[in-house]
Symmetry: C2
Subunit: 219 residues, 2 copies
DNA sequence: TTGACAAACGAACGTTCGTTCGTAAGCTGG
DNA sequence: CCAGCTTACGAACGAACGTTCGTTTGTCAA
């Protein structure tokens, strides 16, 4: 079953509303729904109802629920790259870039109605083997690697002390982001973002060099 | 419907297997299942199958699925208290107690097959209003309060500097625990616990007083 | 021995899930 | 104008969900 799923019909045509448009509209809504209801709680029936279309019509854009989930993860990844990755790599390398990353990272939670998509998806699928879990893991490894690389660059430029363990620092910054999301979403604590920012800046400042601080102040 | 749920039949009798025993057995399994599949993914059918009993037989112990979920949260809370709370309050007040808390906190993840129960439950229900969410929030507030109180005690004893903000420190320690669980469960990184321990100890040591360090070394 | 009661069961309920199918409608190249 | 393709639809499917019901079993008290 499910034959012919591997030719995604990418041929370019221009009807009044193309399938790609609808697909985008579906995924935009799916990402929000999944961030608060979960990727499994994201039901085809409710999603189609929220979009004012039929179950079958929506289903046709994806071969299966799993494909919908995978596409939703990809869509969330795109949003993350747009809201965090892009402004980060637009900033000057070194400490300024690392600080820019932290600030946009904290701000991106607002991009989804139910808080950080990946925080929710991670917790939901960390114990369920399969393609969806693999996709989430891939996106998170990619991000953690980028974060670590940003730290290493700052170190290479002499903005951070040599004895800093980039993986350890990346772990701690990531933990603070998770904590921020937790406190905001579960306890509805508006101070969460401030707490996380305070902690991130203090942690970074504690291992910054004089030239690093100068570069940060200049930017 | 669901009449007579409010007299739990606490009358003392001694059949070969009492209802309370079965209920305990059910909840023990439920906690593990929920920690990896989620509280919603915890279905009565699969749970009863895993226990070798019928759906109806299991269902009878709870008036509804929601009641089962609430009981599961309570059971997880008991395990947490037993594994973390008890050893913590057995330790000497002040810095020794705070360090004991951290160590047992990091170790308790092993109590559940799918990692920290509350980390999973928090992420799952942070966007779903209702009694289950309220129960989770209650347990977490209770814990966060205990953590903050432990910090304040250490401060009162002069083991931590006066300028320390207990709520901020509690937030950061909690974030590190979340990060530990995330890295362990999603990335299957065995270094996670070490990373979190390193960060916790460094964070605490940075604001410890000389007498606090002495008390910690002595215990 | 009998009556009462808790504990567990099998069978069925209505609902919702993901999925399949056949079929209109709308656009486009011949 | 007409085939051919994409897009969307309504209707229906089997499976699994939470839940209800009536019944059987085993144990204690009278």
């Amino acid at each position: 079953m499910r034959a012919g799923t591997n030719q995604p019909a990418a041929r370019a045509r221009k009807p009044s509303t193309t399938g790609q448009d609808t697909r985008r509209r579906i995924l935009e809504r799916a990402v929000h729904l999944a961030s608060s209801e979960g990727l499994e709680g994201l039901t085809i029936g409710r999603l189609s109802e929220a979009l004012g279309m039929s179950k079958a019509g929506l289903f046709g854009h994806f071969g299966s629920k799993e494909d919908l989930q995978l596409a939703t993860v990809d869509a969330a990844r795109s949003i993350f790259i747009e809201r965090v990755g892009a402004p980060t790599f637009a900033a000057a390398e070194g400490l300024p870039r690392l600080l820019t990353l932290c600030e946009h990272w904290l701000g991106y939670s607002d991009a989804f109605e139910g808080g950080c998509f990946f925080s929710a998806a991670s917790a939901e699928f960390d114990g369920r083997p399969g393609p969806v879990r693999d996709r989430i893991v891939g996106a998170m490894r990619e991000w953690l690697q980028a974060l670590e690389e940003t730290i290493k660059d700052a170190q290479r430029l002499g903005h951070l002390r040599q004895e800093v363990d980039p993986a350890q620092l990346a772990f701690e910054l990531h933990a603070l982001e998770l904590g921020c999301n937790w406190q905001r979403q579960l306890l509805r604590d508006e101070k969460a973002k401030g707490r996380a920012r305070t902690a991130m800046l203090a942690r970074i400042d504690a291992v910054a060099t004089a030239s690093g601080r100068r570069a940060a102040r200049a930017s």
